[in-house]
């Protein structure tokens, strides 16, 4: 069905009508008999792209499915998400990747792009079938053992070398396991000392980021740093990006999560597992450095690390509870709240265009001009909203934003010309 979006403010400037034909493409002039959306007062951005989503299917369909995660994504203004590989079974074969891709197509609300595991079973030892996953219909280009770090330098080196054959990228969960083991759950500092929680020091991230950028340089490959959380990592990235640009033969990109831009480690004082996330929430100095790095381009993208968990997986003692928090539905509002000075073109850059480029999704993150697929999100810029974790399309409720007020609201989402969210509600048949 064709569509006319009337009076939207394109990237926060001017007002324009957007026309969508019945192939879901943006076109020059109003198609006849089109459905209309009144977008007066709303900002139009290209549909958001999430580099880092956990959809839990297959294996933990009680926490999230590809369908429910797609619904949450659409409500958050997303038109594409990258589904992390740490499912059960792991996405480490062409068949597994294709299955995720197909389920995403069936859900039909956003493009679901599988991320392939770097190593078989996330075991950290043998390479998964990276090339076969790339050649499959899913066309996997991003590989990650996320949830675990590819900590063996030799394996990381080989993975970086191998994906060069087809322009792939390795997205690393940077956590040196000898400095921050599996129980590490609280930023190491005065608070972890007082609370008696196993410390997760920033250095455990920084040494892996430093090592990996050197490996990327050595191999002439592409590394992507998932969920950067410390000022020290930002320093390393700043150096590495300058070097990579000069050399022109390798690249390093990085993402930050909305929660690392707004929440700080002191929230752990009450041992509430809602705030247990990996990497952990950091002190204000780190948060400030991350905001600055996102604004100046040292950090390329915002990625949610949406990590839904069933209630009973969080109702344990803090160290035993599952890591992660949901984030798809609130990401844009959190970014706007954390960085009110960020311009709309910058929001579009860090939440849509750049993540699409990193993931190799040519159809996504494009400027809203005729000839592009109509992936559009319409935002009420200054709306105040109070988050209610129960008003969510996700199956899980591990929502750190519950009861907080944020600014900006996703009003409509259009995916390939189809309205998936209208007036803040899902349009799902």
């Amino acid at each position: 069905m064709s569509l006319v979006i009337e009076g939207a403010s394109l990237l926060g400037e001017g007002t324009t009508d957007l026309y969508v034909d019945d192939h879901g493409m943006l076109v020059d002039s109003a198609p006849a008999g089109a459905e209309r959306i009144d977008a007066a007062g709303l900002v139009a951005l290209p549909g958001l792209v999430d580099l880092h989503t956990h959809l839990r299917e297959p294996g933990r369909e009680d926490a999230e499915t590809i369908l429910t995660g797609s619904r949450a994504a659409a409500l958050g203004g997303y038109t594409a998400v990258l589904a992390m590989a740490n499912t059960t079974p792991v996405t480490d074969t062409a068949e597994a990747a294709t299955r995720v891709w197909e389920l995403g197509r069936e859900a039909g609300l956003v493009h679901v792009q599988p991320v392939g595991a770097v190593t078989r079973g996330l075991g950290g030892e043998e390479l998964a079938e990276l090339g076969l996953m790339h050649r499959s219909r899913a066309g996997v280009t991003v590989f990650s053992d996320d949830g675990r770090c590819v900590h063996d330098a030799r394996v990381m080196r080989r993975a970086l070398e191998y994906v060069k054959a087809f322009g792939g990228v390795v997205s690393q969960h940077s956590q040196d396991p000898s400095l921050a083991g599996p129980a590490a759950c609280c930023h190491e500092g005065e608070l972890s000392g007082r609370l008696g929680l196993p410390g997760w020091p920033g250095i455990a991230e920084e040494v892996i980021v430093a090592r990996d950028v050197m490996l990327a340089r050595h191999t002439g490959s592409r590394v992507h740093v998932a969920h950067v959380s410390t000022a020290g990592s930002v320093d390393v990235l700043r150096w590495a990006k300058a070097r990579a640009e000069r050399d022109g033969t390798w690249s390093v990109t990085a993402e930050v999560t909305p929660h690392h831009l707004l929440l700080t480690t002191d929230l752990l004082a009450g041992y509430d597992p809602t705030y247990k996330v990996n990497p952990p929430l950091r002190p204000q100095e780190d948060v400030d450095a991350l905001r600055e790095a996102l604004a100046d381009g040292t950090i390329d993208a915002v990625a949610t690390d949406h990590a839904p968990h069933a209630r009973h997986d969080k109702e344990h003692a803090f160290v035993d509870a599952a890591f992660g928090m949901v984030g798809l539905e609130t990401a844009l509002a959190v970014v706007r709240t954390a960085l009110p000075q960020l311009s709309w073109p910058d929001v579009a850059r860090v939440m849509s265009a750049t993540p699409a480029r990193i993931a190799g999704l040519a159809d996504q993150g494009r400027p809203l001009t005729p000839g592009s697929p109509a992936h559009v999100v319409l935002v009420e810029p200054d709306a105040a909203l109070t988050v209610d974790r129960d008003a969510s399309a996700s199956l899980s409720r591990n929502n750190p934003w519950h009861g907080r007020s944020l600014t900006s609201r996703v009003v409509h989402t259009v995916y390939a010309g189809r309205v998936t969210v209208r007036d803040g509600a899902l349009v799902d048949a």
């Binding site: 000392g193 041992y271 009973h312 344990h316 035993d320």
Partner: protein, 315 residues
């Protein structure tokens, strides 16, 4: 006061009030018939997710001497391994009608979390490396009986601070009662961020035990902490021998201490490692007194939390 989760929940006055009750309970221990009727009809569950014969029996006897019905639940490995959440495990037990829940758990913060889920009064009997408030109370009670008052007294706490809930509770308890505290450990066994923490909480830190024992006439009391066997292979220190030379209460160091300086240890002791046999058995050692004080203090805690008509029952 509904729960005892942390020493931080108690004012200095509340601590002294508990000590007064504990002194009465101490007298009861000397009677032929040790029962008091205070908690008749009350049910106390000792829920231990981690073995501790010593602490569990102390709470068990304390409850029984106060005439409570005491039930021990060994919940070791029962929750995560069976896929049941801690919340479900605890709610199931409390659904049977429990007034007091004494909980020991290997995870820091567990007692606080549990207190948010149940109606019963919760006593933290040790949560991970976080706190062990009744241990701190019994230590302070023991020292106060020996020293008269803790106001202005200097206490040295020596050993594996990072992994010690006894240290974390004692720091709060001793400083609240006016003591000056110096904590001594190798840098690898100092808790992270101890610099900022010690500045805020008002205690001193040192890497040099001999200096602490000699400076300004030495401490008025010494509290030795247990070194866990597994720390010895975790690159925390090079060898047991080196640890003893640097941080053990050896015979030589015992000679430096005055004969009236009480020596505490929460037990069980590694004789010859953190404490020499001579020091453990010295007349000034209060290790056995700590055990009987522990019983009195736990009776006082249960009494204050569970006795009386008024809600919470802080007499």
């Amino acid at each position: 006061m509904k729960h005892l989760l942390s020493v931080d929940d108690l004012s200095a006055d509340a601590i002294q009030q508990l000590f007064e009750t504990a002194a009465d309970m101490h007298d009861v221990q000397r009677r032929e018939v040790k029962k008091l009727p205070a908690l008749r009809g009350r049910t106390v569950v000792n829920m231990f997710f981690e073995d501790s014969t010593r602490t569990r029996s102390s709470f068990e006897i304390a409850g029984k001497w106060l005439s409570a019905d005491v039930i021990n639940v060994s919940a070791k490995g029962s929750s995560t391994s069976k896929g049941e959440s801690l919340r479900d495990t605890v709610l199931t037990v409390c659904a049977m009608g429990v007034d007091g829940l004494v909980i020991r758990h290997p995870a820091s913060g567990a007692a606080l979390q549990v207190s948010e889920w149940v109606d019963a009064s919760v006593v933290n009997a040790g949560d991970g490396t976080h706190e062990h408030p009744t241990q701190a109370l019994l230590d302070a009670y023991t020292l106060q009986r020996r020293l008269g008052s803790l106001e202005g007294r200097h206490v040295a706490i020596v050993g594996d601070l990072t992994h010690s809930r006894v240290f974390r509770s004692n720091i709060q308890c001793l400083t609240r009662l006016g003591a000056r505290v110096t904590v001594v450990a190798p840098p690898t066994l100092m808790p992270s961020g101890v610099g900022a923490w010690s500045a805020a909480a008002g205690f001193d830190t040192s890497y040099d035990l001999d200096d602490v024992l000699r400076r300004d006439g030495g401490p008025d009391a010494v509290m030795m902490l247990r070194v866990q066997r597994e720390r010895m292979t975790g690159a925390y220190f090079p060898s047991p021998r080196e640890y003893t030379v640097g941080y053990g209460l050896t015979r030589d160091r015992l000679a430096v201490l005055g004969p009236d300086v009480p020596i505490c240890h929460p037990g069980p002791m590694n004789r010859g490692l953190e404490i020499a046999a001579d020091a453990a058995d010295a007349a000034q050692s209060v290790v056995l007194e700590q055990v009987s004080s522990g019983l009195a203090v736990r009776m006082a805690v249960l009494y204050h939390l569970l006795a009386g008509e008024s809600e919470g029952g802080m007499a």
